[in-house]
Symmetry: C2
Subunit: 382 residues, 2 copies
C-alpha cells in the first residue's frame, strides 16, 4: 500500500462506478486505507463493465486497486452493526448515491454527524444535495451535455462530440478529493468534521470557467473549434504527409522561428500575420499556407526540428504511444498491478509527487467482493 | 474573501496563465490568502488574453479573482529582500515555470527548503521535475495531443479534435491543488514541509486511466467514438426534429422504459437488443431505429417524458443555457465579481461545498499588477 500524507486515515467507501471510486483511489494513492462497502454478491456495478478476462473487469481493477472489500446489506441488522462499528473508528465515509438514499437507510449526514461527530461525510452526486434537480439521476454523458463541455468540443458545424474520457465523472472525483482532504485538514485544525457535498454538474461549470467569463464579458456563445485554440495562433492541429502534428507557437518569437523551420520568410513578413491578434483573425488563410508546407513531409521528420527550436509540438499520441513515452518510467506514471487473473497489468500511476515519499511502482490488485470480511469484522467488532 | 478550511494559510503565487492560477484560485475559494508575485509592468501573461474591456481581461479576472498582487523583479536585490520576507512568513509557494528557472534565481526547492524549512513548495510544469522531457516547453494543446485525450475525442474517422476547454491546464491545476492541500495536512501532522511536483502530462495519463486499463488488458487501441459511450448502449447523442438529445439508459430497466416512451415494443423485444452487451454490439442498427423515432419531435417535447420516467437525458446546453440553469442559483455556482471596469460580472463559483462555511456569492475582483505592494511590504518587511 502506498505510504503518503494520508497514511493513518481510514475511508469507508460506499461509492460505485467511477466518480466516487476514482476519488477514493486517489486517496489510497496518497496513503489512505480505503475499505469498499459493496452490495453482497454482485458488488460495485463497475465489476460488470468490460473489458473482462475470466469474468474479471480490467476497468474495475484500474480504479479500485489497493482497496479492501466487505459485502454488507445495509438493511440487515447484523450487517448494520458491522457498518456502524466501522463508522465509529473511521475518519471519512464517502458515497455517490442519489441524494436521499443514505437518509432512507438512516445514514444521512444529520444522523451520521449526531452519532459519529468525528466522521467526515463526503457525497458526490449528479446535481448535489440542494436545488430542484438534486434527486435526478445523472451519468457522465448527461453532465457532459448539460454542463456545456459538449457545446465547445468537436468540429465546427459537425456532430455533437463527447470528450473521449469520462470528464463528468473524473472531474467530480478530483473536486471530491480536494473537498475530502480539505476536510481532513480542517478537522485536524478546528476539531470539526464536515459534510462535503460535490455535484458533477457544478464541477463541469467550474471547468467551464473560461467560456463563462467570455460569455459574461461579451455575450458571445462559444462553439466548437475542432483542433484549434480560440485566441492563440498558430496553436492547432495540422495535417502532415503521413498523419497530423500539433504546433503551439504561443508568441511572435516562436512564430518567427517556426517560419524559419518551414522556410517561409514570406509568411513571417506578411502583415496579416504580424501579431497574435491578426494571426487569429486570419487563422484560415494562415492555416492553409502552413499546412501546404507541413504536408510535404512526415510528422516524424518535422518533430526533431521543432523540438530543437523550442517550439512546443507533438504528434497525436494514442494509448500505445503513451505506454512507451520516455517520460513514463522516470515519473512512475504506469504502475504494475499483480492480479491473479490478468497477471502483471499496467495501470495509470499517481501524478501527485511529494518529496519524502517513495513509490514502489507496484500496487495490490482490486479486491473480490467481500474479500476482506473476516479481517474487517475481527478488527472493527473486536 | 471566502472563509473556509484553508483560512489562515498564506500562498505566495508565482504562477502564470492557467494551470497554476486555476489551482491557487481554488485554494483562495477554500479560504487561503493568495498573493500573486508578478513581473513588474506587464504582470501575468494571461492579462494579455482576451476578451477585453478597456484593456482589461475577463479571462484573467475569472481565475485571479480574490487574489492580491505585488510586482517583483526577482533579479533585483531590493525586490528579492521583499520576496524572501514573504517566503519566511508564508505557508506555500507555488510556481509553474519551466524546471530550472527557480534554481537559476536561487529559489529552487533545495535552496528554499534549506532556508525556509516550514515552507511547502509546489511546482506545476509541463513534464515534471524529473525525466528526459523535464525541461521542454509545454502548453495545454501539446499535452492534450501527447497525453492521448485527443486520440479518443472526436468523430470516428474525422479530424483530430481538441477538448474544447483547456483540460491539460485545468487537470494539472486540480491535481496540484490536491497535492498542496495534502502537503498542508501532512505538515500539520508530521512537521515536514514537502515539495509537490506535478506534471501536466502525468495528469493527462491519470485521466486516461480507463483507456490505459483497456489497452493493458486487451491490446486494443481505443479511437474516437463521437458522442457515444464505448461500452454502454444506448448512452449517446441522438438527433431530434430541431436539435439533439443525450440519452443515458444505463441498464435494461431504463432501456425498456425508454422503449415504452418512444412506443416501440418491437425494439424492446428484439433479441439483438436484449442485453447491454448485445445492444453495444448492435449499436449502429439500434441507433438508427431510435433516431428515426426521436427525429419526429423536438428535443423540448421529449425531455419531460424522459425526466418523468427517470431516464437520464439532456439537451446539449451551451454557455448561455448554463447561466440560466435552475440548479445554478441554489448551488451558488455563478458568483458575482464587482469589477471597476466590467461592473458586476458572473464567474464560475466553488463546487466544493463544505458544511459550516457559507458562501456570500460575491468575490473581490482580480488585482491590478502590483496593486497591493504598499500593504504587503509594510506587513512582511515590518
Amino acid at each position: 500500500m502506498p505510504v503518503g500524507p494520508l497514511s493513518g486515515i481510514t475511508v469507508i467507501d460506499l461509492t460505485r462506478v467511477l466518480a466516487g471510486p476514482f476519488s477514493t483511489m486517489l486517496l489510497s494513492e496518497l496513503g489512505a486505507r480505503v475499505i469498499k462497502v459493496e452490495t453482497p454478491g454482485t458488488g460495485d456495478d463497475a465489476r460488470a463493465y468490460g473489458p473482462f478476462k475470466s469474468g474479471k473487469s480490467a476497468y474495475f481493477i484500474s480504479v479500485n486497486r489497493g482497496k479492501e472489500s466487505i459485502g454488507l446489506n445495509l438493511k440487515d441488522d447484523d450487517d448494520r452493526a458491522i457498518f456502524e462499528a466501522m463508522l465509529a473508528k473511521a475518519d471519512v465515509v464517502v458515497e455517490n448515491f442519489r441524494p436521499g438514499t443514505m437518509e432512507k437507510l438512516g445514514y444521512g449526514w444529520e444522523d451520521i454527524h449526531a452519532q459519529y461527530p468525528n466522521l467526515i461525510y463526503a457525497a458526490c452526486s449528479g446535481f448535489g444535495h440542494t436545488g430542484p434537480h438534486s434527486k435526478r439521476p445523472a451519468y457522465d454523458m448527461v453532465v457532459q451535455a448539460m454542463g456545456g463541455i459538449m457545446s465547445i468540443t468537436g468540429q465546427p458545424g459537425g456532430e455533437p462530440t463527447r470528450v473521449g474520457l469520462s470528464i463528468g465523472d473524473l472531474g467530480a472525483g478530483l473536486y471530491t478529493t480536494i473537498g475530502i482532504i480539505s476536510a481532513i485538514y480542517d478537522r485536524a485544525n478546528t476539531g470539526e468534521a464536515r459534510k462535503v457535498d460535490v455535484s458533477m454538474l457544478d464541477c463541469q461549470v467550474s471547468l467551464m470557467e473560461n467560456a463563462i467569463a467570455r460569455y459574461a464579458a461579451t455575450g458571445e456563445i462559444p462553439g466548437p473549434l475542432g483542433g484549434r485554440h480560440p485566441s492563440i495562433t498558430p496553436f492547432q492541429v495540422f495535417r502532415t504527409k503521413d498523419s497530423h502534428l500539433i504546433i503551439a507557437a504561443g508568441n511572435d518569437v516562436m512564430f518567427h522561428r517556426f517560419c524559419d523551420i518551414i522556410g517561409r520568410e514570406d509568411i513571417k513578413n506578411d502583415q496579416r500575420f504580424a501579431s497574435n491578434g491578426s494571426r487569429t483573425e486570419h487563422h484560415v488563410e494562415l492555416g492553409k499556407l502552413i499546412e501546404a508546407v507541413l504536408e510535404t513531409r512526415d510528422t516524424a521528420e518535422w518533430l526533431p526540428q521543432l523540438d530543437e527550436a523550442g517550439i512546443p509540438a507533438s504528434k497525436i499520441n494514442n494509448v500505445a504511444d503513451i505506454m512507451t513515452h520516455p517520460q513514463m518510467a522516470p515519473r512512475q506514471m504506469l504502475v504494475t498491478v499483480d492480479d491473479p487473473t490478468f497477471g502483471e497489468m499496467k495501470v495509470a500511476g499517481n501524478p501527485i509527487k511529494l518529496s519524502g515519499y517513495t513509490d514502489s511502482g507496484r500496487r495490490a490488485t482490486a479486491p473480490a467482493v467481500d474479500e476482506n470480511r473476516a479481517a474487517i469484522v475481527k478488527e472493527f467488532l473486536g
